[in-house]
């Protein structure tokens, strides 16, 4: 969620029980603008918190002019001092996927892959790689995974220009209530995968300036989102069941939308059994 609208936005997603303490809110209010200045971001998003056993990571994302470009990610343990995370590589993601269990809350903690899966680790050692992965790398990979899988925006809130870059739509005035209750009105803010596989017939209705992303409609497994009207029907809240803790909010007919993650950084692999 946008750092500027953080206090109000946190209230809107608070129905899940997670939030920030007044101290952290105040700290973010002070440190995020500085972050924007120091790193020359056009915009800063507060991404959320990954709860570890001994501490929590607070994550922020910085955006450049092209909103679809890879975002810079920063983490902080106290919401004041921020450190830049390296960009996620595929290898990192692949390794992190093998890790299970909770985050520790210590970025330098080393997971031993050997413990996790002896066979895989052997392969890795044969390749001459260390069977060790730092928690920082796991953090990067997890954020990347979450952003990819469940980072969502309402339809029309971002536009693709003829030059190919993606911007916030200045004219976005919010989804109507009817639309806001449909999953097809929300898009994954990531490189589209299913879009290319659509048939011509399906593509015919799409507007290239707004419909350049995958919608949530066909997410697998079906039913991996809950859509609820909360606060007396004022705000639409989407919760991901795949990444428990990810909450998206949108106030219909306004520009207020955003997502935030308050969770343990673990994917809910049991989802098919739980629906």
């Amino acid at each position: 969620m946008d750092a500027a609208s953080l206090p109000g936005a946190l209230d809107l997603v608070a129905s899940g029980g997670a939030g920030l303490s007044p101290e952290k809110r105040a700290a973010l209010g002070a440190s995020l603008p500085l972050l924007q200045r120091d790193y020359r971001f056009e915009r800063v998003w507060f991404w959320g918190r990954i709860q570890g056993l001994r501490g929590a990571y607070y994550i922020a994302e910085g955006l450049g002019p092209d909103r679809a470009a890879p975002r810079s990610r920063l983490y902080s343990l106290n919401c004041v001092e921020w450190s830049l995370l390296p960009p996620a590589s595929e290898e990192m993601v692949a390794q992190a996927e093998k890790l299970k269990g909770r985050f520790q809350g210590d970025p330098s903690f080393e997971y031993e892959l050997a413990e996790i899966k002896a066979e895989d680790a052997e392969k890795l050692t044969e390749d001459g790689q260390e069977p060790v992965i730092k928690e920082e790398a796991r953090l990067v990979a997890t954020i990347e995974q979450i952003d990819k899988a469940v980072g969502i925006i309402p339809r029309g809130s971002f536009v693709k220009t003829p030059l190919g870059s993606v911007h916030e739509n200045r004219n976005f005035e919010g989804l109507s209530l009817t639309e806001a209750k449909k999953l097809s009105s929300y898009f994954h803010l990531t490189e589209p995968v299913n879009l290319k596989n659509k048939t011509l017939l399906e593509k015919a209705d799409l507007d290239p300036s707004t419909d350049f992303l995958d919608s949530l409609e066909h997410d697998i497994p079906k039913g991996s989102w809950t859509v609820q009207l909360e606060k007396g029907g004022v705000v639409v809240v989407l919760r991901s069941l795949l990444w428990l803790g990810l909450t998206f909010y949108h106030v219909p007919m306004t520009k207020q939308y955003g997502y935030v993650y308050f969770g343990t950084g673990e994917k809910n692999l049991d989802l098919p059994f739980m629906l």
């Binding site: 209230d11 809107l12 608070a14 129905s15 899940g16 029980g17 997670a18 939030g19 920030l20 303490s21 007044p22 101290e23 952290k24 056993l53 001994r54 106290n78 299970k100 269990g101 909770r102 029309g156 536009v159 220009t161 003829p162 030059l163 911007h167 739509n169 200045r170 004219n171 976005f172 005035e173 109507s176 209530l177 009817t178 097809s184 209705d205 507007d207 300036s209 707004t210 039913g223 809950t226 609820q228 009207l229 606060k231 007396g232 029907g233 004022v234 919760r239 069941l241 428990l244 343990t264 692999l269 049991d270 059994f273 739980m274 629906l275």
Partner: protein
Amino acid sequence: MAEPPGEPRPEARAGPAAGRDRGAQEQSWPEEGPEQPPYEGFEPEEVPPWPRQPGLGPAAYEYQGVRQASGQPQELRRSVYQPPAPSQDPYRAQDQRGSFYQPHAPGRAPYQSETPEQYLCQPHGTEQGPYEPEVSEIAVSERYALGQDSYRTEEPRQSAYESYAAGLDPYQTHEPRSVYETYTLQEDPCQAYEPGHGPYQPHEPGYGLYQPGYSTYDEQVPDPNPRMLAMQNAKAYLLKSSTTSGLNLYDHLANMLTKILDEQPTNAVDIIENISKDVKWAQFRKKMDTLRDEHEILPTFEVAEKRKALFLKVHGEGDEELEDEIAETPLPNVMETAFYFEQAGIGLSKDETYHILLALKQLISVQPIQTCRFWGKILGLEMNYIIAEVQYNDRAEEEEAEDEEDNEEGGKAMSEDKGGDEDEEKQEDDEPPQSTYRPPPVIPKEDNGTGTNKYVYFVCNEPGKPWVKLPPVTPAQIVCARKIKKFFTGRLDAPVVSFPPFPGNEANYLRAQIARISAGTQICPIGFYQFGEEEGDEEEEGGGGRDTYEENPDFQPLSVVEMVDSLSTWVHHTQNILKQGRCVWLNPFQKSEEEEEGEEEEKAEETDEVQQEIGPPLLTPVSEDEGIQNVPAWTAQYSTNLVPQYAVAILQSNRWPGAYAFASGRRFDNIYLGWGHKYSPENHTPSLPPPVQTEYPSGPEITETNDPTVEEEQALKAAQEEALAAAGEEEEEEEEEDEDEDEDD
């Protein structure tokens, strides 16, 4: 842009009809070129008195713009090309507009009907006549402004024209025919267009607005050629596409005007910015499907209505009542608790919390409740559950128990009936072999007020909705709930589709999870509660130890540092649930070994060797809680590190993510906000179906023997001859075969 001269005029006459079609219209305007001579001939006369005569071009522009507004943006574009033939444009516009433009049709009506200033500028005082009809015409347009039907206005307008025409000597001399002709032409469009173009009508009042602009523009550009050039430049500029959005201002303005004239908002000037925004946003709101959206009934009001009910005082009978209320109430101070949790960033938003507080108040007012607590919130797929933990006062408890007994008896009776039916059906068939399977004995549920049923739970989906009491939990439900992992839907009557099958619906599952979570995560600072006088008694055979405690009047609050540093300063104050599904172990008739191994829930794998029950007794320090693999059971932290003086000790459960406890001085509380599932580092593995039952032991009596070959028979015969005993064996075999066949049948 150049105007091809010399096109045949007749086609221009056909203009009105053709004008509906854009393609035809494109042709129509240049075609009107030949019409120019009459006007030109006419112009010289007018030019001297009206220096703004050349302004006809802009006039055309505006007229077109208005016509445009009726919803055909492309036509507006076209209008831009029309300035080259300025003089016709009014006529063309009339042609297409039908009745609406008629007032101006009779020649220069537009110019005359302009604002009085114009007349002031116009030096031709000789033509007094035209002014009089003018007035009547304005009256016509006023009537239009009232939104009258054009057919009705037609009549007066005609008279206006007539009078106008009569007064307009100069015009008549110059071009009487053309005036009337255009007029007659307009009749057709009137009829042809009006029915189909209802939307055009509302534009009429707006039409007048454009005239002032027209006149000023007119005056600024006196010379036709530079004016045209300037216009073209201006238009080119307006048509320039934005590099970011690909739009151009020209289209945008056109769309805006269209919208304004379509919708006719009052005080359009005040909301022009918003209209501009709406128009832009509309471009991104192409409808996804062709179905019409159902009318939105905002749920907001309904919910607001319900919430409002929470704020209404139920009764205001007097001050005594108020004092009673203040003096003794089981109502928890939810807001205060929420404040402490908020220090750690846990909790619902403030207004939701307050609504919950009011909802609890409502609950207390209708139920005979002794203690009440906000237990927490469990998220669901469709709706969420807000859960209140209450204890009935004694009298109500008894009634409650009776009710339930009645229900149970009813239930039992029903199940017996069912059994009876089945038996009857069976008796019709041949007697089946008696099953040797005996189901494990049903472990009776714990009585209300004890063990897992110590508290009664009420749930509602949203504050303000009615509270629903959850049924008491049975051991079987708890045992099964441990094996399954399902999301809640938010509907209490939803079935729980799972394996192993859950005995009950979602209400039961919810109740079972609440019992598990309570048992696992309800903790308090050590010393806050103490056992009664008989403290020190050994654990009873039930394994739960003592199940009652009382508040310690001498409790000395521990410092926050102690509370965080050592988990042994926290104790469970809810009884552990044994493996059996009860808090107090109960020997089900000494059945099998397995049943006797009652084991506490959370330490399931830990102590296998223990014979029967034994969970940790009540008020066991949480430091003895087992973690899951490497995950400790609890994480303790301060709510803040910056201001340790006012920090609150916060414990969060890692076994039940979403369960929290805080302690600050004498205050402590537990809350659960989450999905209602236990943490499992390994993936959930649904229990496998029981192994396939073993086949009937294969033996000679059910084995089909091979038919003997000829050689064998012969050998047998030979053998028979040798030994009679062999024949006896063969007979037996045959008999057996017969039996087999029977069985197969």
